[in-house]
Amino acid sequence: MSALLELPFPQAAMPRHAARIRLLAFWAVMAGLAIAGTLIVLLIAGLLVRESWPLISQAGPLRFLTDAGWWPRDGSFNMSPMILASLLLTAGALAIATPLSLVFATFTCFVAPAWLTKGLRLLVEASAAVPTVVYGLWGITVIVPLVNRISPPGSSLLAGMIVVAVMIFPTIAMLSRAALLAVPPGYVQAAAALGVSNAQTVLRIVLPAARHGIVSAMILGAARAIGETMVVLMVCGNIVQVPKSLFEPVRTLTANIALEMPYAMGDHRASLFVAGLMMLVLVSALVALGEWVGATGRRGAP
């Protein structure tokens, strides 16, 4: 950081060509680092493909959707129920966390007294730091028995959605709060001067104006939810099945990897890398969807 303090680009002090070389070096380093950061995902994909190739090359990728079931030790690798579970869990957690986040962000930006805002911000920051295992323990000792009272066994899709929603809440809430704070105060003042009520100002002016930030917060939240492992492993019941209701247990792709990887050998092990690859494909599809929605949103904006 001392380099920054030292004002690294005095321009007239040195001959022009030296300055230019420094500029070039700066951009080269920046571009190099940025490319390195961007390529990590490819490295990961490469690893997954390498490890799972023996299995994929045997019978093609379709078998992972069409096999009889998930019996990895008997060479039957149908992952479609787990893909579905991952998607359902993410959608559910997002559906719970997003509205609550928006309520929370609105409250702390516009309604809450300063001391309460500060307290709530601290609370949310602290929650983000709670290790996932602790959320898992909370889920298994508090949420699962509660759900169990409604409908056994308790370990279920619903329990997973609730705990994961609480987990991703800090991410979405903090980022959407930042998005709301970035809305120019002029909008709020203009609306107030027109005699528009607080509720309408938020719903029709502030939230729409902040929608890019909110969508981006949701994408990050969804990414966390779909990649979440430990909590899901502990509260979702881990049964490989297509759930018929919220109260039935499910197994997500991530939980599957964490659950079986330490004890898997041979094809079984390769199939877990396929699951990882599947995750990557799934997330890519979601991101592409988000980009597309964002792009059409931008184009269709008034």
Binding site: M30, A34, G37, A126, V130, V133, S197, E228, G276, L280
Partner: protein, 289 residues
């Protein structure tokens, strides 16, 4: 922008305000619940010896000093590795690439996908690349680097947002003074963006501190005091995980460690806040009003 104005007797306004209060307090209660459990259960375990001793009897008794040291080392390495990458990406996205161009889109997508990669997969990736291919073995360095990959998207996004907002106003005025882009960036945009950068750092650090699955495969399990970053070392989240799932009777100390983790986060984020405030003052020459 802060307040929308105070109490209005419009019945519908009351309803709205009441709704926001109720919703937020509900959320607060939801968030407090796990935290309270940690605080209540964990406070029994805390004592001076807990912070200064080494774990014994598989962690059921003794302290967590070596674990705190390993954790700090791992988190420092991961931030030190992720920060330059995230900064470079943020600079590329805000200063160089057109926001709708394919390069920017590719970068953003790549980061978003990275954000969605499950932490187990990061663990396997770190194991294969850092521990095996690069020959680091199970070590603090390998764990830190694998963790850096995981927090990169969070950090990059936070930095991008911060630099974007800060650069907007000052890019043109800096250029009009005959300053090169990097000069404006380093001397104007970064100081202005420091609060945002600080928030991003804290968020990333938080994630790094709380992460289990990545380190399970990379940084090791050994609970003795590390002598170098090439030693294996147990991070506090792994310690909590091991105590709560693998060690009968480990639960009290698991909660104690979780509480210690929260305290550690508080101290660290206070330090980051303080550090950035100092830098901000130093770089802008302005006493904050």
């Amino acid at each position: 922008m802060s307040a929308l104005g105070s109490g209005m007797p419009y019945p519908r306004e009351r309803l709205w305000t009441g709704f926001l209060w109720a919703g937020s307090l509900l959320v607060a209660a939801m968030l407090l619940w796990p935290l309270l459990i940690v605080i209540l259960e964990g406070s029994h375990a805390l004592s001076l010896e807990f912070f200064t001793g080494s774990p014994s009897d598989a962690g059921r008794s003794g302290g967590i000093l070596p674990i705190l040291v390993s954790t700090l080392a791992i988190v420092s390495i991961s931030l030190a590795a992720a920060l330059p990458l995230a900064f470079a990406i943020a600079v590329m996205l805000t200063e160089v690439c057109r926001p709708d161009g394919w390069i920017a889109t590719a970068m953003r997508c790549s980061l978003d996908i990275l954000a969605g990669v499950p932490s187990v997969v990061f663990g396997l990736f770190g194991l294969s690349l850092f521990c095996r291919q690069l020959g680091m073995g199970y070590s603090i360095a390998a764990g830190g680097l694998a963790l850096a990959c995981m927090i990169l998207p969070t950090l990059a996004r936070a930095l991008t947002t911060a630099l974007e907002a800060a650069g907007e106003q000052h890019r043109v005025s800096g250029a009009a003074l005959g300053l090169s882009k990097p000069a404006v960036l380093c001397s104007v945009t970064v100081p202005v963006a420091l609060p945002g950068i600080c928030a991003g750092l804290i968020l990333a650090m938080t994630r790094a501190l709380a992460e289990t699955a990545v380190l399970l495969f990379t940084s090791g399990y050994s609970d003795r005091m590390p002598e170098s970053i090439m030693d294996s070392g147990r991070s506090i989240s792994i310690h909590i995980y091991d105590l709560s799932t693998n060690v009968p009777g480990g639960m009290p100390n698991a909660y104690g460690s979780a509480l210690a983790l929260l305290l550690m986060l508080t101290v660290l984020s206070a330090a980051v806040h303080w550090g950035t405030r100092w830098m901000h003052k130093h770089m802008t020459g302005a006493s904050q009003r």
